[in-house]
């Protein structure tokens, strides 16, 4: 089992003049609208519990105003919570003093922002070195490290350009390079690709997944785009009005939406591209191997659906990496999943 890297427990955030007294009311059951109307406080987050596993990509998804950006800012404490705790590697972030918090931010985390937040007066190279300069790391080493990541995100040759001279996609590559150069174990990405146009966004998603295969960071990724969430998330948490509606692996959220909100959200998703064989298989039960078809557990449905239609097998046998048979899938079940 992978270790829990970030543990968020009973987190509340209320914006307003007197959040502590408003907190009591929220805990007594006052909802977001009532709180705003009667008490003039805004409920940002309500009782959030989330365990984020090491070396995985945790997506937090929600529409604007759902509190997702507020949530990610609690992890590196850019926002102080009203109540609750955030524990990273066994240490409570909220109990750190200024100095410890700065060190934590310098070494453990790095952040990528929706609107890039690059320093306009510094070049691409200087921007990428920013985190290292803050840590007072020797100029030569900073330079080497920064250049390596600029190269890795495909920006070689642009080192001396200023951010204003780059397109949005390229600016966000700088943002990504800046975060990676910092070499923290935790990568916080606040709607990092939302401001990019669709093709560029897809590119960036691919870059991120490719890098993640190699770097194994703990990534917290905020998005309002379900397709993006399903594509890159190992797990997805869905926020609505500051409340976490559901948390789980993508297939689970698609197959068993817990609330109407989530149900509406996932309705139009192309399931064949999100659900893998292992997500929908049943236990082997002496199935007939006549005219059976074998599929890998990690194959998405759209990898084998064409073959199912042309070969018309009786059933599908699911195998793992060691070629052991671990489950089966009836064509009836398959068509149910796809029809829903």
């Amino acid at each position: 089992m992978p270790e829990i890297k970030i543990q968020i427990k009973n987190l509340y955030k209320i914006f307003g003049k007197n959040p502590k007294s408003a907190l009591e009311k929220v805990k007594d059951g006052v909802n977001k609208d009532q709180l705003l109307e009667k008490h003039n406080h805004v409920l940002g987050l309500k009782d959030i519990n989330l365990d984020i596993k090491e070396k995985s990509i945790q997506v937090v998804m929600g529409l604007s105003g759902s509190g997702k950006s507020t949530l990610i800012r609690h992890i590196n404490r850019l926002i102080e919570p009203t109540d609750g705790s955030v524990v990273v590697d066994g240490e409570d972030v909220l109990k750190m003093n200024d100095e410890n918090l700065r060190n934590f931010r310098r070494t453990k985390t790095a952040m990528v922002f929706q609107r890039f937040a690059l320093l306009p007066h510094k070049t691409v190279l200087e921007n990428t070195m920013f985190g290292l300069h803050i840590q007072n790391i020797d100029e030569k080493e900073a330079n080497t490290r920064a250049r390596r990541w600029i190269d890795r995100v495909g920006l070689s040759g642009y080192e001396e350009k200023y951010p204003q001279h780059l397109s949005g996609g390229m600016q966000q590559r700088v943002g990504l390079a800046r975060a990676l150069t910092n070499d923290g174990e935790i990568l916080l990405m606040d709607e990092a690709f939302s401001a990019l146009d669709p093709l560029i966004r897809k590119d960036m998603q691919d870059i991120l997944l490719e890098l993640q295969d190699e770097l194994h960071k703990t990534v917290v990724f905020i998005t309002h785009d379900l397709d993006e969430a399903l594509k890159i998330g190992d797990r997805i948490a869905i926020l609505k009005d500051g409340i976490m509606d559901q948390e789980g692996i993508p297939a689970d959220i698609l197959l068993n939406p817990k609330t109407q909100y989530v149900k509406d959200f996932v309705e139009d998703v192309n399931r064949a591209r999100v659900i893998k064989a292992k997500h929908i298989m049943s236990k082997l039960n002496g199935q007939d191997r006549d005219n059976a078809m074998f599929v890998d557990q990690d194959d998405f449905i759209d990898r084998f659906i064409d073959k199912v239609i042309s070969d018309k097998p009786n059933c599908l046998i699911v195998k793992n990496k060691n070629n052991d048979e671990i489950g089966y899938l009836s064509t009836k079940r398959l068509s149910e999943i796809l029809k829903r």
Partner: protein, 297 residues
């Protein structure tokens, strides 16, 4: 006869008013007698520097001074046109016999500007960092900018007498508000997302100030420096009333004696200086924000 209450403002009696004014003046006079020398001593280094600078400009051979000026103008503005224009302006000033006065004025403006920058930028930073400092400073700046300059000349002269230092103080008081205000504004205008990014990377307040806030506020601060220089130049005539040498004194003489041509020449020399200072500081200000438009040279 009893005055009607509504037609006459109910004012304090003459005695009371005189008592208040006299009491105020007496205590201020006592204060200046007691501490005048000490306060003057505080400004001694500034005075030495000012005198040294003035002598340097006046006693060095004029071609050397002129070449130095033109070099500074060229490297500040990187514009041949401004440099050549300045050359002609200085030549005319010299030919019309105003070289020495102009050097005095340049030296006092230079020192005033340096003092204003040295005091104004830290005060502006403080205002930007603390709401309380902003609340305290804003009305003081309002008073400094709107109070007729003659009024604050009075206590300065009472305290320090007539001469360079009181003149310098008067100029600085008059000219410092823009740089304070624009430093404050420039820092407050820095994009909050960029600051958040700096926080997220663990920058401490000093790193934020020197690596982000001041560099990004620099164009605005430069607009403030430009304003400060212009206002200092505008004060030279008033400052000459309390004994500051330079182009202001002939103007003052021209007013009292009705010498129109003399006033005009010296006035034009002040205008020429103003234009040169303005063009140089503006193009310098533009150059330091290159990242906003064209590529690096």
């Amino acid at each position: 006869m009893e005055k009607f209450f509504l037609s006459e403002f109910p004012e304090l009696s003459r005695e009371t008013l005189r008592f208040i004014k006299k009491g105020f003046d007496t205590s201020y006079r006592a204060f200046s007698r007691e501490y005048g020398d000490t306060i003057e001593a505080v400004f001694d280094p500034v005075l030495y520097f000012l005198v040294w600078f003035e002598k340097l400009l006046q006693n060095s051979p004029w071609p050397i001074v002129l070449i130095c000026f033109l070099a500074i103008i060229y490297f500040g503005s990187r514009k041949i046109s401004v440099t050549i224009g300045s050359l002609f302006a200085f030549l005319l000033i010299g030919i019309f016999g105003m070289w020495e006065d102009t050097m005095s004025t340049v030296s006092i403006i230079g020192v005033c500007t340096l003092l204003s920058i040295g005091i104004g930028i830290p005060v502006g930073v403080l205002m930007a960092k603390s709401e309380r400092a902003q609340k305290i400073c804003t009305p003081i700046l309002d008073v400094m900018q709107t109070m007729p300059s003659f009024v604050y000349l009075i206590p300065v002269v009472m305290l320090l007498g007539i001469g360079k230092i009181p003149g310098l103080l008067a100029v600085v008081i008059y000219a410092i508000p823009p740089i304070i205000r624009l430093t404050n504004l420039g820092i407050r205008e820095v994009d909050s997302e960029v600051l958040e990014a700096a926080d997220a990377f663990g920058a401490n307040p000093r790193q934020k100030l020197f690596q982000i806030q001041l560099p990004l506020a620099l164009p605005t601060i430069f607009a403030g420096i430009n304003q400060t220089i212009m206002m200092a130049l505008a004060m030279v005539v008033i400052a000459s009333m309390i004994g500051v040498k330079g182009l202001g004194q002939p103007v003052l003489k021209a007013i009292t004696n009705q010498y129109f041509a003399m006033g005009l020449f010296n006035g034009l020399a002040i205008v020429a200086l103003a234009i040169i200072f303005d063009r140089v500081s503006q193009s310098f200000g533009h150059r330091i924000q290159q990242h906003r438009s064209g590529a690096r040279e």
